[in-house]
């Protein structure tokens, strides 16, 4: 087991019974060239007392690489409950068997994509509800350096040229808040793979040449999100943040098809985000505020 204060990159070599398979640098490298490149970058891997392999990398937030697993969220939850993973610690895996999106939808992926879970710090008041938006914004900001201008589809899907390149799911339970992140780095599901009534087409990253590897990319993103998150909450009020968020919001002014939870569908225009983070829509002069639901451009 990794120790709770262990930082840097570690490999969960022996796996977690029932949750993650054992893994070695060699087997990881075989998943995708991006992983192979990671294994080289972070070599040598040293055996530690806690039965993990530690990468030869500068310290940073704890990143635990695990083998094929049901979902990195399950692995992360187990590590948190054992006291082995702290705030801004994360778990990343090459493949998931039961990756999940919002509302237990499937999350389709392939090796070479980022499949990771980040342990989020607790937040007070409105910040707690705004967490998905904050993470979406920070991730979009961090990804801009890699793949150009990324917009956020409310609340936090990441869009590149109106196509979805990633998504975030936050699960909040007392004492443990996890954000699951999926990024279509090397592969994106085709139209036929997506569920009926999906919102937006998926796309993969525009080019892999600038990407140092899945793990390398993830480390960069985690570091950016950690610093960004801390300073954002210290510097801005929620209302300031929402002002910034609005500037990144996709499809403002466009007509969209709204699908609400209860199967209700109607057309509306995206107006912005309310003072508490709801998506504000205008449906024939009537203002509508969404806390859940999906919008698809018409």
């Amino acid at each position: 087991m990794p120790e709770s204060d262990a930082s840097g990159v570690r490999l969960l070599a022996e796996g977690l019974p029932g949750l993650a398979d054992p893994i070695s640098p060699d087997s990881l490298a075989s998943f995708h060239p991006l992983w192979a490149s990671d294994m080289q970058t972070f070599a040598p891997w040293n055996h530690c007392d806690d039965r993990t392999l530690r990468a030869d990398a500068p310290p940073g937030s704890a990143v635990v690489v695990c083998g094929p697993c049901s979902s990195t969220m399950d692995v992360a939850r187990e590590l948190v409950s054992r006291g082995c993973l702290g705030v801004f610690g994360s778990v990343i895996a090459p493949v998931q068997t039961l990756g999940r999106g919002q509302l237990r939808r499937n999350w389709l992926s392939a090796p070479g994509n980022v499949l990771a879970t980040l342990v989020c710090p607790p937040a007070q008041g409105l910040w707690n509800d705004l967490r998905p938006l904050v993470l979406g914004h920070l991730l979009a900001e961090a990804l801009e350096d890699v793949c150009g201008p990324v917009r956020v589809k409310w609340p936090n899907d990441l869009l590149l040229d109106d196509k979805k390149i990633g998504g975030i799911l936050v699960e909040e339970r007392p004492g443990c808040i996890l954000a699951g992140l999926g990024l279509n780095v090397a592969w994106a599901p085709g139209e036929s793979d997506l569920r009926d009534g999906h919102c937006v087409a998926a796309a993969q990253f525009p080019g892999l040449q600038h990407i140092p590897g899945v793990l390398g990319l993830w480390r960069m993103l985690v570091n950016r999100m950690e610093t960004g998150y801390t300073t954002l909450l210290e510097t801005f009020t929620p209302s300031d943040f929402l002002t910034i968020f609005r500037s990144r919001l996709a499809w403002v002014g466009r007509r969209v098809l709204v699908t609400e939870g209860a199967g209700v569908r109607y057309e509306a225009r995206v107006m912005g985000v309310s003072g508490i983070g709801e998506l504000v829509l205008d449906s024939e002069g009537r203002e509508i505020r969404l806390l859940a639901g999906d919008v698809t451009p018409l």
Binding site: L103, P155, L169, E172, D240, G261, E278, L291
Partner: protein
Amino acid sequence: MKPKSFEQVLEIVKGKPILVANRGIPARRICRSITEMFEAVAVMTATDVDKTSPATTGAHELLLLGEDPRAYLDLDRVIKMAKDRGIVAIHPGWGFGSEDDSFPKKCEEAGIIFIGPNQGPMRLLGNKVAVRKLAEEIGVPVVPGSPEAVSIPEARRIAKEIGFPIMLKAEGGGGGRGIYEVYEESQLESAFTKASALAKASFGNPRLYVEKLLTSVRHIEFQTVADMYGNVFVFDERDCSVQRNHQKLIEITPSPWPVFTPELRKELKGYSEKLIKACGYHSLATVEFLVDKDGRPYLIEVNTRLQVEHGITECRYGIDLVEEQIAIAFGSKLRFNEKNTKPYLHAMQVRVNCEDPQDNFSPNAGTITRYVSPGGQGVRIDSCICAGYRFPSRYDSAAALLITYGSSWDKTVMLMRRALREYMISGVKTTINFHRQVIKHPDFVSGYYDTNFVRLKKAELMSYSDQEPERVRLTRLVAEISAKGYNPYVSLGEYRGRADKRVGRFQLVKAPETSDAAFEPRITRSMSRDSILDALREDRSKGIVHFSDTTTRDITQSNSGNRFRLAEDRIIGPYLDRCGFFSLENGGGAHFHVAMLANMTYPFTEAKEWNQFAPTTLKQILIRSTNVLGYKPQPKNLMRLTGEMICEHYDVIRCFDFLNHVENMRPFAEVVLESKKHIFEPALSLSWAKGFDVDHYLGVTENILAMCADVLGVSKKMASQSITLGLKDMAGVCPPRFMRELIQALVKKYPDLVIHSHRHYTDGLFVPTMGAAASAGAHIVDTAIGSSVRWYGQGDVLSTCAYIEEEMGLSTVIDKEMIRSTNFTLKQIMPYYDRYCAPYFQGIDHDVVMHGMPGGATSSSQEGAMKQGYIHLLPYMLKFLAGTRKIVRYHDVTPGSQITWNTAFLAVTGAYKRGGEREVRRLLNILDIVNLAPEADLTAHECEARLDLYRDSNDAFRNLLLGKYGKLPLGFPADWVYQSAFGNDWQDAVACRTEASPLETLADMDLAAEEQALAVRLGRKPTPEEFVLYLNHPGDALKTIEFCENFGDANNLPVDVWFEGLEKNEKLLFQSASGKPHVMQIHDISEPDEQGICTVRYTVDNESVSYQVKVREGAASERDAVEMADLKNEYHIASPSNGDLWVMHVRVGDHVKLGEEICNISIMKQEKSVYAATAGMVKRVLKNANYQEDKIMVPVKEGELLVELGPVESCCPTCKAPVGSADFKFCPGCGQKI
């Protein structure tokens, strides 16, 4: 253009339509000027939300903008509509389009006069960088900093020059937005990046400039007005230093700040004039400065519009700025000059906003239920609200601008205090209370403060309560009772409907004054204990017997299942006080609990008041030994704390124990006997049954005297002279012969012991038994006033007196005429209690000598059986009671009576469930056999069968068998009883039973921690009384405290209104706690709407009020009418936020563990698990979802009840006794509805 005179402009404008492109306060304010001198047509823009708002009343016409609430910002559309209507001029007001420099241009293009400046000067003065440049050019001081937007290296250089702290300000910002404070160089870089990002996102312009951050400054601004011909007039300063986050809260003219000198004023006026002149500006403008603590001024900005605070300048000068502004726009020459326009008054404005200052000034919207505006000399109000107006959430929170003006600063302050006192707004939270705090703050009055005042003095300014005057709160209670037809707080259910026939108005007719003026009471509160006891002994030796009166405690509690309110005590108490009774029993027992449970009164406050309206006669209270005033043994430190409070208000403390376990009374003896004034009256609990004979009771008396002797440190004989002995026949079962025998034996053995006899009427033999007690030597007997005498309480004083005097040949010292007057008064009160309190199981019941149910429990227990659907089993239950009393022997009084009743109830209903009435009869048959046949004669089959008798008994009964309440008076019952009650564990039970007082093992309570917990619940420090009430009955104490905070003292309402409310058009005269008389009249009670809400319209002292009362549940389909969770109830599982429920994991009947996930809510793709805060069984699931199956999510609201759990093992929420079965609707112990 040739200058026009004002009169010429009047001619031009008269009858022409002028549009105010605004809403709310500014729209109303400007319309007033349009319609006054100009006699023009005032047209106001209005969206759908606003088209019927109070502000529109000032307009002649509305320009309807439709439903989009942001339509005020669509200038092109407004101008087009204005043109179509033939509008000649547009006033932009403040906010919305007023600072948009395209507005004048667009108006010009449309051929409409813009009442404001031209585009060019407006753009120049509206741009901070440009103004700064202009100011520097013409020698107006500005805050040191960069002249224009800068890069980070430049910012660093400038910061070095001017020194930290600095501000980074967005070029496009304003109104306090887009400002970053940087205190040291190390923060500069990151702050710059962030401020720039925010500026870009907020204003579309990332450029920042640097300014010195001034730490202690006043905000001083100058109103200017200029015409198109170069004439400028500058008014005296407005001091706007009371701010919050750069938002002005209070504005004052002239500045009350002693540092602000006439020289400084002159200097700043000069700067202002220069600036306005320099750019060829006309219309109104405000030049804003910061002035540091040394009086150094710095220009900050110029506002090119009418400002919110213009009214105080108008008051200082006696002018109308809007009128002048309109005239100037039409080409009028400025009328103001130094000669004709002189300041002569002080003025101050507070902004009354619909915001909750205690919640960080969060805006709130809702219906204004009550609106009373201040008035009188020196007060001006510009408001946009009225009673009944639904304040919208879409716009800013400004509700009113309140101005006071007077000849001095002090006068203005005092006027404002008065005006804020008069100002009443209900339904939404406002800043009125906050302003009251500011206006009385010494720093504010002295004038020495700066713009940090609100931030630094936050703690003092926020410490106020939003409580409204009692007359307002009390009338809401009356409205609620009237709308419902019954009073929900008396906990008697829906005992009447609104249309039901009434007992009628309570109009007390006073008794004629016929009392004996020469009558002197023999015993008074001014006497010491010893002199009282001596007087009783001396009187008894002369054949004189005394009476205690129980009218206001035991009799009503027993007969009505309720008790009088303090309101009725206030009427009857002064009469009772003059009757010559030994004591008035006015507290204790269930009476204490009911004060909170149903009467919403603090019982010790009530007792204190008793001693004021009835100061002469001793007051008596009944205490349940270890349970004190509750239903379970109390730790010793709580007993003492309660005891001390009791001794403050009561003179005679009667204390009983249902086991006659004398040690249980010791803590009370210690408290009471410590004083020379209080009389301690330990009482024998009396049953009339085998084993409880005279010798037994003599033995108990001996123990009592030994305990008291020990406490007093004297001999038993001395102790017998220092206490009174109560004889408490609570069921009314001991016949005259037994009482005669017992008292004769007591008198013989303890000749100095004062004997106080108490019994109930249940067996019908009250009078002869009390006669027997008196003739045998009792010193005092308990009776009540005739018109209150019913069935289970005490007997009538005058009939008992007649029996004692005429049949027994003894004498009495009471004022019978006064008793008759009391009786006459009481006759007028009783009908209300008779009508609305317990109507069940009344009448004499001589069978009490067998079943032994005491006092009011006789009726309430039987009522419980009936309401649970077991009326057909009641005869069996009474038989079981009679039988079990012979097996497990103790006295049937609280809590013993509850234990016996529950045991009988559970045994009979249990048998019924097993095998119907046949099984019940079999059970009773075996009970008979056990009681009749000697142990040796029982067959093996019978020995087996008797184990069914207690198989269904509850924990209370088992605890009694274990000795947890104290020592059983005739020892432990036979082993088979344990076998029956405990089953296989019976031997362990026998092994661990004890005869020690529970007090020995009960650990002291952590009082400090409890007090802290209560303080947290109340949000304030509790009073000592509140604390004691809370410790004794936590739930009901909280309910009562909350009631009193919400409604005030309900004892200020007459009895008819308390039970029946008011009918339409009836008048209620009442007094609030201060003694001030008030009148209330209900004009209308609407039918309930689809949400089950009635609106009650009424007046109180001529003020109109609308109050909404929920009288029934709303229609289930109504999305707004969701049931909200009770946050204090851990069984209620609430939605943690607004969102969508997408999965519900539980179903009705499921058992859930503490911390188990119950459901999951999705909010903005954050999935929140909702957990059980306690273990329990699912009683109700109010919302269901299974998204994965049906792709349907269910919207839920924050705080909405999603799942209701119930206890796994049901316990009564009030008395904590196990309820026994899940289908019980009432607690068999205390009758509480479950």
